[in-house]
Amino acid sequence: MSAPTLLAVEDLSKRFGGFVALEAVNFSVAEGERVGLIGPNGSGKSTLVNCLCGTLQNETGTVRFAGQAIDGLPAHRRVRLGIARSFQLPRPFATLSVGDNLRIPLLYAVDARTGVRHSKAEIDARCGELLSLMGLADKAARPPLELSQVEMRKLELARAIAAEPKLLIADEAMAGLSPSEVDDILALLVRLNERGITIILIEHIMRAVMSFSERVLVLVAGRKIADARPEDVVRDPEVTRAYLGE
């Protein structure tokens, strides 16, 4: 692989009491890559995302981002370094308007990273831009709880994009969407990737993962069992067994 490594995960393990959620997971993601992460329910996908983003801390192993070990850093420091995520179940700031929801990462992730305090007008403009991109412009002043399920997912993604990440982790951004809406989000993610953002996509919709990813990781019961091109992964007997049984 020619592009430099952006994210390197080495021997990462996480346990909850006696339950081993992740066991010695190893993988790396190159700059600009599109990686899919799949696995059955409870296989540790979200735990892995939480360990990458600092919401949870891994007990053993190392996570390196852009060459720097980031273990032990709290989540707000990691998003400032450039790792942003969307939540599997949307978690909007309920009392802030849709537009103000985007203001949080702009004020606290982007400004803190660049050291530039943007003016209110600049931040307003950026919020407007992002909302138009996601087709939410007419909802800017509304509370997020008035949004539909689809719009809520879009807001969740917009908020992650607002953090101007180097690495975007989209945790089931398309759950519950119709096929055409899935295509919309996919097209958007591809556009973001073309602009140089590395993307890890966690998804149950196989069509989306297969068409989007250059490489697919498969987690089963906390272990990585496959790491290959999408067409090879679907033919992997171990993956088939994990999903369909013997």
């Binding site: 919401t55 707000h76 700031f93 606290y108 992730a109 908020r159």
Partner: protein, 314 residues
């Protein structure tokens, strides 16, 4: 309205209140007015942590009484002007606020509230057993009968608390419209998501507990000079904790106006009730109003107006 304009407007409003009060020659007005102003400070301080950041503090009385007792200690040691006592009281309560925050902010929701309630009990126990400040017997403060420039001491106390109320309201409003205010709101709505989008939640929460505690301490510092006899039962009175929660809830917790409206309304009703019915009726009135508001206007008076305004616009 910009922050500068608001500071000016608040100062003018404060000056107007004081100017009008000079036309009143009844000393009781100043005694009652002082209490209402003190509640504006306490309600605003409570709201910075409780309303903006979403952490319910049941320990207002502890922070308030620490300010009051720091004045008692200083009174016994040295002779200092009242504004200095307020700064010291504010600093002590602010430090304790920081410490409490550091120890308890891993607790969320109702557990944080219980911890602050426990703090009030612990501090009261310490004071009751501290002979230097009078212990359970209480302490007497001899206040000067006259103050240069002001004459009457109660008028002076009224003015000092009025200035503090203006400072508290300006602080709250400035926070509300700042980057800090957005950070506080994000924590209140979803702490985990706030942290994930760059908000340094621990630091902001410590800032909120410190600021809130400091303002409560400053409000408490003149108390010994107001009552002239301070005992733990009055310094740690349940009414302070209950009122400083009820006032923002009744007024509305999302803006600086809410605690102001709540404190003026509830504080005035209580003062009137004390004279016309009995002082024992105060907490009963608060309780009934709170029940009423939770049912009719869960977002307080400000919420009621916003709702009305939105309905008319739609």
């Amino acid at each position: 309205m910009g922050n500068g304009t608001f500071v000016l407007a608040a100062a003018v409003a404060g000056a107007a209140v004081f100017g009008l009060s000079l036309l009143i020659h009844n000393e009781y007005f100043f005694f009652a007015g002082y209490v209402v102003l003190q509640y504006i400070v306490l309600a605003t301080a409570w709201n910075i942590l409780g309303g903006y950041t979403g952490y319910v503090n049941f320990g207002t009385a502890a922070f308030f009484a620490m300010g009051a007792y720091s004045s008692v200690v200083l009174y016994k040691l040295v002779s200092l002007p009242l504004p200095v006592l307020m700064v010291v009281g504010g600093a002590i309560s602010g430090i304790v606020g920081f410490g409490t925050g550091y120890l308890t902010l891993r607790l969320r929701g109702v557990y944080f509230a219980i911890a602050t309630l426990a703090l009030a009990v612990v501090v009261q126990t310490l004071i009751v057993n501290w002979d230097f400040v009078g212990g359970a017997r209480g302490a007497y403060i001899m206040r000067p009968a006259q103050v240069p420039l002001f004459g009457n001491y109660i008028q002076y106390l009224f003015l000092v608390m009025l200035v503090l109320a203006v400072v508290a309201l300006v602080t709250a409003r400035t926070i509300e419209r700042s980057r800090l205010g957005y950070g506080f709101s994000a924590i209140r709505d979803d702490e985990l998501a706030a942290e994930a989008f760059g908000v340094p939640t621990l630091r902001l929460k410590l800032l909120a507990t410190t600021l809130s505690g400091a303002l409560m301490g400053m409000a408490g510092a003149p108390l010994p000079y107001y009552v002239t006899y301070l005992d733990p039962a009055s310094g740690f009175n349940l009414a302070y904790a209950v009122n400083s929660i009820a006032m923002p809830l009744i007024g509305g917790t999302t803006t600086w106006v809410g605690p102001l409206i709540g404190a003026v309304l509830l504080g005035t009703i209580q003062q009137v009730a004390t004279v016309t019915i009995s002082s024992a009726a105060n907490l009963l009135i608060v309780g009934l109003l709170l029940v009423g508001f939770v049912i009719v206007a869960p977002n307080g008076i400000v919420g009621l107006f916003e709702q009305h305004w939105r309905a008319r616009r739609a």
